[in-house]
């Protein structure tokens, strides 16, 4: 028995996605969703896994992600673990061996075995105040779907998810930055659902857009001016560089909107708006 399910990478929506892959550190946030859920979440990135080849690097991989988000329905007052992840390697270009739970995909427990993403630069170089990256890639793994967790049908599926995402940041001033992401993906799942015979299909195609404002309250601003004397004129000029050290940022507003024109994988609402406030301590 096999079911082919198609959906977008709704994991963008588990928290405000604008600070997912490209911002490492600790974060905590409170969200209010238009489907009448309130969520509280936190994440941390840890350097636990040593490099396998000590001839090349004797440090740790700086890659392990641990995160969780608890949600509560306004109507029922029932609290549940909406999302969780423990993943050995979660870099922007590589995900390896993660155990996850994701209400947005109706998944009570799943395994992301491997994901590879290739980033392409749309804008920005090292000293620029703005950057944008296009990431194309795919992940593969296993999901246990449950009707009690907003899946349309319970069952076990293997999945492959090609995806495309644009992530960017624009520094509005040395402390205030605007973050954004836009993403879509496609999940093909094969497995048994509801014990039905034959091949079933389920598909969805959400489009996810997030925007966030981050205000840096660290003592030194993120960017600093570096003096460079022009050899032709002798005049001082100034270029930009990034200050050392981790940044403590508050995120006064993050907005996420997701539209699913069709969805036979989950019982999620077809359009979702999430408003969030939070803080992060990141590089």
């Amino acid at each position: 028995m096999a079911v082919f399910a198609f959906t977008s990478l709704a994991t963008f929506a588990r928290r405000a996605g604008a600070d997912d892959a490209y911002y490492e550190g600790e974060a905590a946030a409170v969200s209010v969703r238009s489907d009448e859920r309130v969520q509280v979440g936190a994440k941390t990135d840890l350097g636990l896994v040593p490099f396998p080849d000590r001839d090349v690097w004797n440090g740790r991989m700086n890659a392990t992600r641990v995160e969780a988000t608890a949600g509560m329905s306004w109507k029922t007052g029932v609290v549940d673990l909406d999302q969780a992840r423990v993943q050995l390697i979660r870099w922007p270009h590589l995900h390896v061996l993660g155990v996850e739970r994701e209400r947005m995909l109706g998944t009570t427990v799943g395994i992301e075995a491997l994901a590879l993403y290739v980033p392409f630069r749309l804008a920005g170089t090292l000293a620029d105040q703005h950057w944008a990256l296009l990431t194309v890639g795919a992940s593969v793994g296993y999901r246990h779907l449950a009707e009690s967790f907003q899946a349309r049908a319970s069952g076990d599926v293997a999945f492959a998810t090609p995806s495309v995402e644009i992530v960017g940041q624009s520094s509005l001033d040395p402390r205030l930055s605007l973050r954004f992401s836009m993403g879509a993906s496609y999940v093909a799942a094969v497995g048994s659902l509801d014990g039905r015979r034959g091949v079933g299909t389920a598909h969805t195609a959400p489009v996810t857009v997030t925007m966030a404002l981050a205000y840096d309250v660290t003592a030194k601003p993120r960017l600093r001016s570096v003096r460079h004397t022009d050899v032709a004129t002798g005049e001082p000029r100034f270029v930009q560089a990034v200050n050392e050290g981790r940044r403590f940022r508050i995120m006064p507003v993050q907005l996420l909107s997701q539209i699913r024109p069709f969805d036979t994988l989950t019982t999620m609402t077809s359009s979702l708006l999430v408003a969030q406030v939070g803080a992060s301590y990141e590089y």
């Binding site: 090292l126 990256l133 050899v231 032709a232 560089a241 050392e244």
Partner: protein
């Protein structure tokens, strides 16, 4: 800042060193014009190396000031041999040293430690490497000086290293017999390169010619098991060509003269023009000298030097080439930084053009990527590969290399305390671009 006059003194001293070198060399007046740089003392004999060592050590002394307590607890470790084979994992070892010393007195503290270490190879190269770490991560200015000035200090430390290393090689060559340890001449092709072939071949399969170009490119880069030095064959080839060595030496002298006359750096693409003058317009030779002899840091003197010495093949010219080639890498970088401009369309970073051809400039400081690939592009073109094939091969190799090293950049950035994710990706993109641009130029120049 109180240390600025001292740094200025060092700059003057380095410039004076060049002048005193002129005084000791016998140079016809006709070749001291702008078109032909003055000749400086060649680093090809024990006597000349000792003369230069005396100069360099006195500059370090004057920069360090009065002897001060050793800035780090483990003096022996700082003075000891500095192994670079595991250079990619140095961050965890080195960065804590930087953090222990107040940044604005770091350079002088290093000079003081080098002096206390007796100007050992380990202390000089370790200090240079630490400054490189700051520079690579755009933190050199946190020492309180402009970047180009910091690089003058770095290059003085590195030249001391080259000086001591070259002197040791002369002794090794003198005592060489028929037996020697396994070295780069004995090393087999690197097995770790096989995945490069496998992965790199994949996107090129649709164009068999590009696939052949990629294979040839990897063959020319010629990584060897147990060694970091690439281009072994090409390097030995250039070391056998007197005209290549003559151009290298003339270019090195030119760079030293630029230090003494920084106003010459105001000429756009002036360094490239000088190279064309010095080579009589022989672009392939320029690409061999810049792309092979001069872009491999200390690796040739580290890995090829002992192998040549052991076989009694280390002629004075080759010793001078290993010294000059390594130092050219650092000097080009230093002078590039001083000559760099802040342009209206890229107001947040320095744009480099001085050593690049007239049609090219970059905000990426890694000039060696450009000329490594220009050399490769030239060689592949001479072997009959089309420009598009050359470009695809170079871009593929650069993409694989950056894709692999980004895994190391991420934890390294965390150790240093910088953005671990976005900047490594953006830097990798910059590097792929400059690699590709170099290959395109080399292909065009040699068609």
């Amino acid at each position: 800042m109180s240390t600025e006059p001292r740094l200025f003194g060092l700059l003057c001293a380095v410039a004076f060193a060049a002048a005193s070198g002129v005084a000791q060399a016998q140079v016809p007046a006709a070749v001291t014009s702008l078109a032909r740089p003055p000749s400086y003392l060649p680093m090809d004999s024990a006597a000349n190396l000792q003369t230069r060592f005396t100069q360099l050590s006195s500059y370090v002394d004057s920069f360090a000031g009065a002897p001060a307590p050793f800035a780090l607890r483990d003096r022996e470790a700082y003075c000891a041999e500095f192994a670079v084979f595991d250079m990619l994992r140095k961050t965890d070892e080195l960065w804590p040293l930087v953090k222990q010393i107040p940044r604005t007195s770091l350079l002088q503290a290093m000079a003081n430690m080098i002096r206390a270490c007796g100007y050992s190879e380990g202390a000089t190269r370790r200090s240079g490497y630490l400054i490189d770490y700051l520079y690579w991560n755009r933190l050199a200015d946190t020492t309180g000086f402009e970047v180009a000035d910091v690089l003058v200090v770095r290059d003085t430390f590195y030249e001391l290293f080259f000086n001591r290393r070259a002197a040791r090689l002369l002794v090794e060559a003198e005592h060489a017999n028929d037996t020697h340890p396994v070295d780069i001449f004995d090393a087999a092709p690197m097995t770790r390169v096989r995945p490069f072939h496998a992965v790199g071949s994949f996107p090129l399969v649709v164009t068999p010619a590009a696939l052949r170009a990629f294979d040839q490119l990897v063959k020319t880069v010629d990584f060897r098991e147990g060694h970091l030095l690439p281009f072994r064959g090409a390097l030995m080839g250039a070391l056998r060509v007197d005209a290549d060595l003559a151009l290298l030496f003339a270019f090195y002298d030119y760079l030293l003269s630029l230090r003494a006359q920084p106003q010459l750096l105001a000429e756009r693409h002036g360094g490239w023009h000088a190279l064309l003058r010095l080579s009589n317009g022989d672009t392939p030779r320029v690409l061999r000298v810049l792309g092979v002899l001069s872009s491999l840091l200390y690796l040739p003197i580290d890995e090829l030097g002992p192998a040549l010495a052991a076989r009694k093949l280390l002629t004075p010219g080759r010793l001078q080439a290993l010294h000059a080639g390594g130092m050219v890498y650092y000097l080009v970088n230093e002078l590039d930084e001083r000559a760099g401009r802040v342009l209206p369309n890229t107001p947040h970073e320095v744009t480099f053009d001085f050593f690049y051809p007239d049609t090219y400039s970059s905000t990426n400081w890694k000039w060696y990527h450009y000329f490594n690939n220009a050399y490769l592009g030239c060689e592949l073109t001479r072997q009959g590969y089309a420009p598009l094939e050359v470009r695809a091969a170079a871009k593929t190799l650069a993409g694989i290399y950056e894709g692999i090293t980004i895994h190391l950049a991420i934890p390294s950035r965390k150790t240093i305390g910088l953005d671990t994710r976005v900047n490594p990706v953006l830097e990798a993109m910059d590097d792929i671009t400059i690699n590709e641009d170099g290959a395109v130029f080399g292909a065009e120049a040699c068609k």
